[in-house]
């Protein structure tokens, strides 16, 4: 009997896993003992870290898009459809429209994050972001026209994709205006929901003095409650009101609704064993990347490492062996500290991050990895 492995989501986690399985289960796929299907709601794979550079005119959204059928091994069945229901009892997926349903033996959910700016009244009208293609290009137009005034970067949603990106943005914007001789006319304020500037205390401790040196104002314990686009103010649950001329936000994030509807977890995040990545509420279901509620950052490196773990576990299960591979929380991240310098962190469940001294070499390493990423998506790096 053919074992049917179905992966939902063609982002970093889903694509790396599909290629990992094509490689790892090559003989079984050739023999027809296993089928691997990757389902995505569009034909393209999108590499989101490119968006950080779009507002500064350094990259284009198209640089972060490639057709999935060029990235994914031919041994994988690629299906472009939108899943509308997961039934974990009958192990069946249903789809939008008239597409026939699909049964699975093993399911991997890699559906990722979606933006929910409408949660905050006024944010859609008053805020900008670089967490979407359209947001990044709109913000580019705003920034190019901006020569003086107050820029507020407000982290509203947590967890959010790429936890370092808000720090990177304010470090880059400081440098960008400085290099153009405009920094004295531009005020930059960074807000964060808790009592420090980043969720991870070690990264927060490292970043705060740099922000002070660079004259980046900080508002902590700031949880945006509403935005008034006419008055150009943002107000927090804690009662602080900030004026802005340009508001850049990290909007609230959520997972896809069908996960909660399937009883797999709240807000679109699947409750999983944080080591095995197996869903707690259903058998034969894994989750990875942003979708897996492990408490580690929602980052591409996490999805990449988790895909390797899930790939090994699925291969073991298919071959009737005990699955021993586990995820140790490994996270790796470059952090831009300006337009031509960056730091680097690596950490896991047991070992905290210790940011490397910023250097031009690390900045170029980050840019080089962003190019090499396409090898990662193909399962080669």
């Amino acid at each position: 009997m053919t074992e049917r492995i179905v992966i939902v989501g063609g982002g970093t986690g889903g694509s790396v896993l599909a290629n990992d399985l094509a490689d790892r289960l090559g003989p079984e796929l050739d023999a027809g003992d296993v089928e691997v299907t990757l389902i995505n709601d569009g034909p393209d794979h999108v590499y989101k870290p490119v968006w950080l550079y779009v507002p500064f005119g350094k990259r284009e959204p198209a640089d972060g898009r490639r057709a999935l059928d060029e990235l994914v091994d031919d041994a994988v069945d690629l299906r472009i459809d939108r899943v509308s229901e997961i039934d974990t009892d009958s192990q069946t997926l249903r789809f939008d429209g008239t597409a026939p349903s699909m049964e699975y033996d093993r399911l991997v959910l890699a559906t990722g994050s979606t933006l929910e700016p409408e949660q905050i009244p006024g944010l859609v009208e008053g805020g900008h972001d670089y967490y979407s293609e359209s947001g990044a290009t709109d913000l580019r137009e705003e920034l190019l026209a901006f020569t003086e005034g107050e820029i507020v970067l407000s982290v509203i949603g947590t967890p959010h994709m790429c936890p370092a990106a808000p720090l990177e943005f304010v470090f880059m914007i400081d440098d960008w205006f400085r290099e153009r001789g405009l920094r004295e006319d531009v005020e930059v304020t960074y807000t964060y929901p808790i009592q420090r500037v980043h969720g991870n205390p070690h990264i927060a401790e490292w970043a705060r003095p740099i922000m002070e040196e660079r004259d980046i104002a900080v508002e902590t314990f700031f949880n945006a409650e509403s935005v008034d686009p006419d008055a150009e103010t943002i107000t927090s649950m804690e009662g602080t009101e900030l004026d802005y001329d340009l508001l850049v936000s990290i909007p609230p994030h959520g997972g896809v609704d069908l996960i909660e509807e399937a009883g797999l977890g709240d807000d679109g995040w699947v409750d999983v064993d944080k080591h095995t990545l197996e869903a707690e509420a259903a058998d034969n279901v894994y989750a990875l990347g942003d979708t897996a509620d492990t408490g580690v950052p929602n980052a591409g490196s996490v999805a990449h490492y988790q895909a390797g773990v899930v790939g090994q576990r699925l291969a073991s299960e298919i071959r009737g062996r005990p699955a021993t591979a586990t995820y140790d929380g490994k996270t790796l991240c470059f952090i831009e500290t300006g337009m031509d310098s960056a730091s680097f962190v690596e950490f896991d469940y047991e070992n905290p991050p210790s940011p490397a001294p910023p250097s031009e070499k690390l900045h170029w390493s980050k840019l080089a990895y962003n190019e090499a990423y396409w090898l990662t998506a193909r399962g080669l790096l």
Partner: protein
């Protein structure tokens, strides 16, 4: 044991800092004024960051219940 009846309970056991505080903030965000949210957390960080945030936001931390392997925080939305 407290006899406070919460309107909502957030179980953040197993989540590392700042997960429990963010879960609490999310629940308070959707609560009505006067409602009580109970946060269950086994993160030591919650013992400091929950009282700090409650004070900053003007919400009242009614009680902290020390249980076997976690704490229960009762926060009333202002």
């Amino acid at each position: 044991m407290t006899d406070i009846e919460p309107d909502d309970t957030v179980d953040a056991r197993g989540a590392a800092c700042p997960g429990p505080l963010m879960d609490l903030i999310g629940a308070i965000r959707s609560a009505e004024s006067g409602e009580v949210v109970r946060l269950l957390s086994d993160s030591d960080g919650s013992l400091t960051d929950v009282p700090e945030w409650a004070e900053e936001a003007g919400n009242e931390l009614l009680a902290v219940e020390e249980l076997d392997d976690h704490n229960a925080f009762y926060v009333e939305k202002a």
